[in-house]
Amino acid sequence: MAIALKSTADFLHLKKHNLASLSRLSSGKAFVSTKRFTPMATVTTATTLGLADTFSKLKTQGKVALIPYITAGDPDLSTTTEALKVLDLCGADIIELGVPYSDPLADGPVIQAAATRSLARGTNFNAILSMLKEVVPELSCPIALFTYYNPILKRGVEKFLSTVKDVGIHGLVVPDVPLEETEILRREALKNKIELVLLTTPTTPIDRMKAIVEASEGFVYLVSSIGVTGARASVSDRVQTLIGEIKEATTKPVAVGFGISKPEHVKQVAGWGADGVIVGSAMVKLLGEAESPEDGLKALEIFTKSLKSALA
């Protein structure tokens, strides 16, 4: 039975119940135990807020967004389904879902490995779409898809965007399309009311950064370091300066990603003024390298909660 939970304080105790039942799953299949679940939630088919709106809401509450990233299909799509729910329940404000790709240039070894495992299992885009169709109505937070450009092109930009809109996706991040080449993407994204998030980096000159933030929708993705995705020991304090520069150029929310892997990092980046913090490889590693899907989901839950409390 699919039920959309509204994330208000009333339901916190319900969330705990749900998690206990989830951790007993042996098959990793999409399953909500109705035995322990008293239906106090309102059944609603309302869609969640978009990315920008989510940030606005959080801002009024004085909160910083927690944005986890996981790769679809690693270890398998049913675990991804569960993981999305776990992340949502543990307080993810936005979730980035990676579409596995054969040649992920922007990704380090952890996410590369996740993509390879996922593809080896036969994960394809249609399967991801089916999964999303089922699970998105159950989530209270919006999802942004993270995909490289070639799979989008292969489908056709218009078709791709309308298809993902149909399954309830709110945002899109494409790491290998530079600003110069985003015209078609932006046009189609606007048409389909998908927020196309653009990235700016420590090597981006200020003028270019301004053009990027101007064009970015949803939020501005600030890449924290020069390099590919992957946990790092610490976050460079250059990030603080960069956040400041971006905030001078725009009122759009800024989320920082790449390399952030610990509650300390999250707290630090939030303290520097970021509106959101993106955690990817650390999440992917927990899920993908666990002994079993259940162990992975449990570890994910614990980790996400620790990050969330760092933002409290």
Partner: protein, 463 residues
């Protein structure tokens, strides 16, 4: 100027009173007199042809199209589809490239390196026995000339580009070079150039390729390079080299070996390889007082092909033929024929033809010529296909092996298996050509590295 029309290649005439334009055999902005002011040559069929030396300064930049310089586009192909982190670095590279094109000191240094270190100019060799092999019963057939890039230092054309880019890296103050290699030729060339210029060198190579071309791996190590094994083949090695580059932008320089990648990489490699075509034009003029009629080159990603073709792109009467690797056959699913069987997408930073599945995932290619195993192709090559300026065909593993053996027996030359694909196409091409047609085949590299593979080749088996 007196000429006997018979001495000229079929499609050309030189009008009296015209000064024949020549480009120097090396990077054109060089002010080096390699030949005297005027040359009088006696050509076959007792003709004399007087050629005046060209203007000394002929900038490379004039051969590059405006749209290409400004946007890195060849029609709809090309561009810079890379993570934002790389964009500013590419901008700097582009600026540096434009500088060196106009820098006569750089050009002179490059000319000297190409002559004394690389061993240029490479000969344009008339293959008498191969020519006879293709004569029909009436003794008619085309004339086959081989452009001997196999005689370059390192054994392939790769060094033309590697030395020039290593010089650029040094100019930019970079300390480390990062590169990926398939057959190992680009790896060897890069390692050699780095040793010469005292730069650190890391080469990424696919684990399977390292086994197949082990002698090249040893050479790279002896030349002082670190060789990093990457699970997979060339395409994985390329991706890994790019990731390494993204992570070390300030200190390292990514040395592309071929005409793929984000702008300015395809243009840079093409420009530095274009020395092949420039020499060929002059050599053709010296040998038969005209231009080649047909140019044939193998196509992996397109560096040796563009190196030969680019000079002649505006000569509509010169036919350009690229030969891709058909592996086990075009319909076998095991080949590298990107243009024949691929479609357009974005890969490794550029929009171009590529081999992909229905999802847009990049496929792993196969060819017995390891240097041809790349699921993409240079954007400029895609452009030549789309505009119809060049024709593209393919040759299977078996056909390449046969061509290797044929050249060994007929001319005593052992061509790289990659180049053997170009030679293989002669079997189909020559019977269609008029008598006396001048064909130039690019022997992009030497084949000692492949002797084991050829010797042990069994049809329909994995080598």
């Amino acid at each position: 100027m007196a000429c006997n029309i018979k001495a000229l290649s079929l499609n050309h005439q030189i009008l009296s009173g015209t000064t024949v334009e020549r480009k120097m055999g090396t990077a054109s902005a060089a002010n080096v007199s390699v030949v005297p002011e005027t040359v009088t040559k006696t050509l076959p069929a007792s003709t004399t042809l007087t050629i005046k030396a060209p203007q000394p300064e002929r900038l490379l930049i004039k051969t590059v199209d405006r749209k290409e310089i400004n946007h890195g586009k060849f029609g709809r192909f090309g561009g810079k589809y890379v993570p934002e982190t790389l964009m500013s670095c590419l901008g700097k590279l582009e600026a540096e490239f434009n500088l060196v094109l106009h820098d006569s000191e750089f050009q002179e240094e490059l000319t000297t390196a190409l002559r004394d270190y690389v061993g240029r100019e490479t000969p344009l060799y008339f293959a008498q026995r191969l020519t006879d092999h293709y004569k029909n019963s009436r003794g008619e057939g085309p004339e086959i000339y081989l452009k001997r890039e196999d005689l370059s230092h390192g054994g392939a054309h790769k060094i033309n580009n590697a030395i020039a880019q290593a010089m650029i890296a040094k100019r930019m103050g970079r300390k480390t070079i990062v590169a990926a290699t398939g057959a190992g030729q680009h790896g060897v060339a890069t390692a050699a150039a780095c040793a010469k210029l005292s730069l650190e060198c890391t080469i990424f190579m696919g684990a399977t390729d390292m086994e197949k071309q082990a002698s090249n791996v040893l050479l790279m190590k002896l030349l002082g390079a670190k060789v990093e094994s990457v699970e997979g083949a060339f395409k994985e090695a390329s991706s890994q080299a790019i990731r390494e580059w993204v992570g070390n932008l300030e200190t390292s320089y990514y040395l592309t070996g071929t005409v793929v990648g984000p702008h300015p990489c395809p243009s840079m490699v093409r420009e530095f390889q274009s020395v092949i075509g420039k020499e060929t034009r002059r050599q053709a003029m010296e040998k038969w007082g005209g231009k080649p009629d047909v140019l044939v080159a193998c196509i992996g990603s397109g560096s040796n092909a563009l190196g030969l073709f680019h000079e002649f792109i505006n000569d509509e009467d010169v036919r350009l033929i690229g030969v891709e690797a058909a592996g086990f056959g075009l319909d076998s699913g095991r080949h590298s024929a990107t243009l024949a069987r691929g479609d357009v997408g974005v890969y490794h930073g550029a929009m171009s033809y590529l081999l992909q599945d229905a999802e847009g995932q990049i496929l792993g290619p196969h060819s017995i010529g390891v240097g041809l195993e790349y699921p993409g192709v240079g954007p400029e090559v895609s452009f030549l296909k789309e505009t119809g300026r060049a024709e593209f065909h393919s040759a299977t593993d078996q056909e390449a092996i046969d061509a290797y053996r044929r050249l060994c027996k007929l001319e005593g030359i052992f061509p790289a298996l990659e180049a053997s694909h170009a030679l293989a196409f002669l079997e189909k091409l020559c019977p269609t050509l008029a008598n006396g047609t001048k064909v130039v085949v690019n022997i992009s590299g030497r084949g000692d590295k492949d002797s084991d593979i050829v010797f042990q080749y069994k049809p329909h088996s994995m080598t």
